[in-house]
Symmetry: C2
Subunit: 153 residues, 2 copies
């Protein structure tokens, strides 16, 4: 297993868009239960099944497994809460960190979030100038909560 | 994915015990949410992650994946509801059907259940004479419910 340590931010301007490589992410939640989430994701021709524990600070237990894309599609269609989350993820390398900027579509159109995964909770990071307010601890921006309460700009 | 079609029964006597090959099963539930369950199981040196949909009649969508046993142990210890389910499963071949007899220990000690997996809901089966009452539709005997409401003989 891993522990995911992650900080999350809002984004300003448009410059980030030209810095990254974009891929479409489609995901849904089989369960959001006792602080645990079970997520299905499709990226390209690969499916993923991901279990996460309760978030404490910016850390969270995470177990991720590759699954056949056909299974993932079927799980999304038949066993996930509505609406599904659809977003374009831009991966941007800055120094030795990978920033992931998610531009949401569908029900959450208009929302853009940047995430960066860290080695330790107190790791110093250089914040790119296209990064705005930090929202790491704001549950409104958890993807699982964007299902029931989509973002309204 | 598969559809699991299964009938479940109580058991009488002790004869079944000598007919099967026994293995220890340890399992728990990460989620029991909107009729979907996410189960972790350890059998021998193998871990399994299993997602099941709502039961209709004796059928249920089922997606099962092998995962490393170390992950499964950690999921059982840290992300599953208490108590865990512990049972010895006897697999018994009768004709072309495999009967699975589960003898529960731990919180559900005293409970013995037999299950048989079918190809179709209306498949004719020969019922062994050590099989008693059918409990397919009785939610008290769903393993996920035996976590919160253990069997009391």
């Amino acid at each position: 297993m891993g522990t995911e340590i992650e900080r999350k931010f809002l984004v300003k301007g448009d410059e980030w868009r030209s810095l990254g490589v974009a891929e479409i992410y489609r995901q849904g939640y089989i369960a959001n239960y006792n602080g645990r989430t079970v997520r299905v994701r499709v990226v390209g021709n690969q499916g993923y099944l991901t279990i996460k524990g309760l978030t404490t600070g910016s850390s969270r237990a995470e177990f991720e497994y590759k699954i056949p894309v056909e299974d993932a599609q079927e799980l999304l269609e038949t066993l996930c809460d509505r609406p599904l989350i659809e977003k374009t993820r831009y991966k941007i390398l800055m120094g030795d960190l990978i920033w992931e900027v998610d531009e949401f579509s569908g029900e959450n159109q208009g929302l853009i979030l940047a995430e960066v995964e860290l080695e330790t909770e107190d790791q110093n990071i250089d914040i790119p100038h296209w990064i705005a307010e930090e929202v790491t601890s704001d549950p409104r921006y958890y993807n699982v909560n964007l299902v029931k309460n989509p973002f309204k700009p």
